[in-house]
Each structure stands twice: as C-alpha cells, then as structure tokens.
C-alpha cells in the first residue's frame, strides 16, 4: 500500500497534523512518502523521515501561493507513481491543494475523515457528518489514487524509527493564470502561552464575555492555569482576539485534557472543534445552551460573577 501525506512547513517545522497523518499512514501501509511544501529545512526533512516518510517530494513555492503549483506537481507525480491514498489535513493550504488536485485529476476527495480502515478490497473512510452527531462510512469506487482530508487530532502523532528520507525536488508544470497568486506580505500574530493545538488546558471565551475588555478575564484564567486562550467565531469576528485563536470548524480542532468554555453557547460549528476534549467545563447563563450537552460540568450562571471568584480562589491556592 503506497500512501502519500501532504505536509506544509510552518516556522521551520511540519504542521502537527502532517505528523499525525504520517503516524496513521505507517499503520496502514509500507511505502510512505511526504509531499512537502515549504523551504525544506534539514530539521523538517529529518522530522518527516523520523515519522515514517522514506521519500520526501519537496516543493519550495517561494512567494507564490502554493496551491495551484503543488496540485499540478502532485498530479504529475501521482500519474507516474500511482499512490493508493493521498492524505491531506483539514487546514487551509492542505484544503486548497486537495481541492485543486481533485479538480485537476477528476477524482473524488472525502473530507472530514476521523478514521481510515483498510479492508481486503477497499479503503473505508469514516467521516463525521451533521456536526459530529452521525458517523458515515464511505468507500471509494474504482482505482486510486484516492484523496482524503483528515480532521486534526484524529490520530496521535508518534515518531517511528525512520532515518533521513530520500529527498526529490518536485518539478512544477506550467500552471498559467491559475498559479499566478502571490503572497506579498506575511504576518504572524503573536500570542503568549502554549499553542492551542498543543495545549493541555484551554480556556475559551465566547460572546457571553460581553466585550473585548471583559475578555481579559479569559486571558487571566488561562495565565493562572498555564493554559492556551481560545475563542468562538463570534469573538474573532468582533476582533477581540486574533483569528488564530478560533476553535471550531472554521478555526482549530483541539483535544486538550481540560477545556473551559466561558460564555460560549456551543453552536454546532464550535462543538465539532472541541467536543473530543478530556474534561469539559462550561459556564453560561442560558440553561438551554448546547454547550451543556457535552460538558462534564455545566455551571448555569453569570460568567461575570463566577469567573472573578474562580480567579481569586486560584490565586490564593
């Protein structure tokens, strides 16, 4: 079974989702390669090797938006090398490349996968639909390559025993106008504390926090617990905190040991991003808020009363 994993390099390292996918790929197949988009540092290549990629196809897009070029290069490679399965992650660049590749090759892609199972004669993709309420198993019809987009945190990332991979520079066919989008500026939004994706504890706030000033209470509690700060879509749309802190379908999927939701009602698109957390604690004044459906402890009350007492009590411990 030949499996390829799409990997984007961000800040000199592969995304954590790429490593999760490589770990899963090792359990499914015996011929694993990564398709890397980025500068291709020695550390990144070494990490991809350690997680199981024996070959890395490398594309350095420079200042071009990589999606069209990466899809064209992948399509040409796939034609020659015939991978059975190509895995992408549910994150921006992966989605762009997966969609363009499917359009280019005229083959389907199954999105939102939470598991992949090999059977005697096919590949079963298990997806969550309807906000995670229903699981659906789908198989591909016909021969590969089959494309799948995997939800973050579906698989634990564990390094294997692999050494440095064989690196092959990918050639990009002419993409014309499709490939003409350029990145003219890059901005990193600085946040303190642990990264959302890696945090053991997350304190997240929603519209119920009231205002940007009052959202500081979320940040203070996160500081006391060495937690990462998260936010609902309403909060990032209002500009109280950067988009990179958004938890949910359009933001990040997280799976911390403890998730504290303050003033978050729990719209479907938020729940799919956090419902698999270990212990969920929610504070909301609306007894009917959907967040209480997944919370291990739901406090029905005013977050502006509960939170200051909680902060005070933690400070005196």
């Amino acid at each position: 079974m030949r499996i390829w994993v799409f990997a984007e390099e961000i800040d000199g390292a592969p995304t954590s989702l790429a490593l999760e996918m490589l770990t899963k790929a090792r359990s499914l197949g015996d011929d694993i390669a990564a398709f890397l988009v980025g500068a291709g540092s020695a550390e990144t290549l070494g990490t991809l090797g350690a997680y199981g990629a024996t070959t890395v196809y490398h594309l350095d897009p420079g200042d071009a938006l990589p999606s069209a070029g990466a899809a064209a290069a992948l399509a040409e490679l796939a034609d020659n090398e015939n991978p059975d399965l190509v895995m992408f992650g549910l994150q921006p660049t992966d989605r762009d490349v997966a969609g363009r590749l499917a359009g280019r090759m005229g083959i389907p892609v199954l999105s939102n996968a939470i598991d992949i199972v090999m059977t005697a004669d096919s590949i079963l993709i298990i997806n969550e639909i309807l906000g995670g309420a229903t699981l659906i198993e789908t198989t591909f019809v016909g021969s590969g390559p089959h494309l799948v987009v995997v939800r973050p945190k579906s698989f634990a990332a564990e390094p294997g025993a692999g050494g440095d991979p064989n690196v092959i520079t990918a050639t990009v066919p002419e993409t014309g106008h499709s490939g003409s989008a350029m990145v003219v500026e890059r901005h990193a939004e600085v946040s303190t504390g642990p990264r959302l994706e890696d945090a053991e504890i997350i304190v997240a706030g929603g519209r119920g926090m009231g205002s940007q000033e009052q959202f500081a209470g979320v940040e203070e509690l996160a500081g006391l617990l060495s937690a990462a700060v998260g936010a609902s879509r309403a909060v990032v749309d209002s500009g109280w905190v950067p988009y990179s802190l958004q938890v949910g379908q359009t933001g990040k999927t997280v799976k911390p040991n403890v998730y504290i939701a303050l003033g978050i009602s729990g719209a479907m698109q938020h729940l799919v991003g956090m419902k698999d957390s270990g212990t969920i604690i929610a504070v909301n004044k609306d007894e009917e808020a959907p967040i209480f459906g997944v919370a291990d402890l739901g406090i029905i009350g005013d977050v502006h009363k509960v939170l200051p007492k909680l902060i005070e009590a933690l400070k005196t411990r």
């Binding site: 999606s67 969609g99 083959i107 389907p108 500009g239 359009t250 403890v258 029905i300 009590a313």
Partner: protein
C-alpha cells in the same frame, strides 16, 4: 465587474436534520434557508459590484424547492440567480458539485467568483478550490479582508499562525470567512423586488455536464450510524459557590 457568488440553500439549522433511511442523503424540505455563511459572500459581492457598477449573479446547486433561500440572497441586492436543481444530481459528491457550478459560471462569463469557505450542512470545504482549478483561476482563499483595485484583487488570507496578504489579477476566485464583512439586512423594498428577479434553472444537459449524481461521484456509502454520544455531566445552578465545583474538577483532572 461581473461577479458570481456561490450560495446554498440548506434545511433550517434550528431544526434537527434527518437522513433518508435508504439513500442516507439529507432530507431537504420545500422551504430551505440561505446558508448563513453565504451572506458574507453575497455582501462582499454586492460591495464590489457597487464600487464598479457591476452585477452579482447567484449560482447555486441543489433542490430548488420554493427558492426561499435564493430569494433571501436576491433580497439583499443580487441581480439574478442560476439554480441547477436537476433530479439527476441526487447524491452528487463535492467534485460533481464543483463541475456543475463551474459550468454555470463559465456560461455566465464572470470576472470574479466568490464563495464561502464551506457550507454549514455538508462542510467538505473543498468545492471552491475544485472550481478554481476547473475554471483556470487562482484561488485566494480564507479571506478576512478583500480589496479590489483596477483588475487586481488583494486579500488577507487567514493562516494557522496569522495572516498573509495575497494578490492576483482577475479573473479569480475568492473564499470569504465570516469576519470579512458585515452582511446587510434585506430592506422591505429589496424583499419585494426579489420576487420579480430572474431565476434561471438550467438542466445539467443545458450546461453540458455529464457523469453526475451518485454514480458519477466515485464513492459509495457503506454504512451510517449515530456517533457515540458524550454523556452530559452535572449541571449546577450558581448560587455564589459554583466556582468551587470548578476547582474540585480541575483538581481531579490534575489541572491544578
């Protein structure tokens, strides 16, 4: 400039969704609503069209029903709609959807295509990118800000660590996030005008698209089952001491 905005009618998210027991497809009532995430694309299209004396064409695939959701977008100010509601499309996957929408857009001949990042009911999240490839356009995705200046489109593209400024010349496709613009509410005049606006309903044959429906989608559903439900825990009314319950649980979870 002529702008196509992709929109989708979905069952009202406030009501529980049902799957047809045999086909496993979502049951779609006669009256569907405009997907809330599409209102941002419609607003963006209207703003860009207003600035360039252009026009906005809505493009949608799926059972037309009463067209209630399409009328909602027309009421915001879009000029007309193309709705592909062909019975033969039942069970189509993302790629067939992209092929149909791309064919309708190509027939219209537009400078800019705008779509949301994913639909609320299906959320595959790859249809716009597929369309961009089929249309031979650059895809400027996950935009939280969009500017147009004399044939050049420039967006702030949300990334996992911040944002990038991305630029391309038209024609191009843009996907917008919900923070990009503040959608307008339809006026009474807009609602009345929407009833008279043209809604073209071509068949797939009219668009020259073949290999559609479940059979053309290259995938088959093997089984459907409810996800294991997470048992809801204790609910406590705050009487002034609820924070102690939180501390107890944080202790148990070894978080403090």
């Amino acid at each position: 400039m002529k702008i196509a905005v992709c929109v989708k009618q979905i069952p009202d998210p406030a009501t529980p969704y049902e799957l047809d027991p045999e086909s496993h497809f979502v049951v779609r009532p006669e009256d569907q609503v405009l997907d809330d995430t599409d209102r941002y694309g419609v607003e963006m299209g209207l703003q860009l069209a207003e600035a360039t004396e252009g026009e906005v064409v809505l493009v949608s695939m799926g059972p037309a029903g009463s067209l209630q959701g399409i009328r909602q977008a027309l009421a915001m100010g879009a000029d007309k709609a193309v709705v592909i509601s062909d019975e033969a499309l039942r069970g189509s996957g993302a790629l067939v959807t992209a092929r149909v929408l791309a064919a309708a857009i190509e027939r219209e001949g537009v400078d800019l295509v705008i779509a949301g990042t994913e639909s609320t009911d299906g959320y595959a999240g790859v249809v716009p990118q597929m369309m961009s490839e089929l249309l031979g356009m650059p895809a400027l995705t996950f935009a939280r800000r969009v500017e147009h200046d004399d044939g050049t489109i420039r967006i702030e593209r949300q990334t996992s660590t911040g944002y990038d400024v991305v630029e391309a010349t038209l024609p191009a496709l843009v996907t917008v996030t919900s923070g990009a613009v503040e959608p307008r509410y339809p006026t009474f005049k807009g609602i009345m005008a929407a009833k008279q606006k043209p809604v073209d309903q071509p068949s797939c044959a009219d668009l020259g698209v073949e290999g559609i429906g479940a059979a053309g989608s290259g995938q088959t559903i093997a089984s459907v089952r409810p996800a294991p439900e997470r048992a809801a825990g204790a609910k406590v009314q705050d009487e002034g001491e609820a924070h102690l319950e939180i501390i107890k649980l944080l202790d148990q979870a070894k978080a403090i």
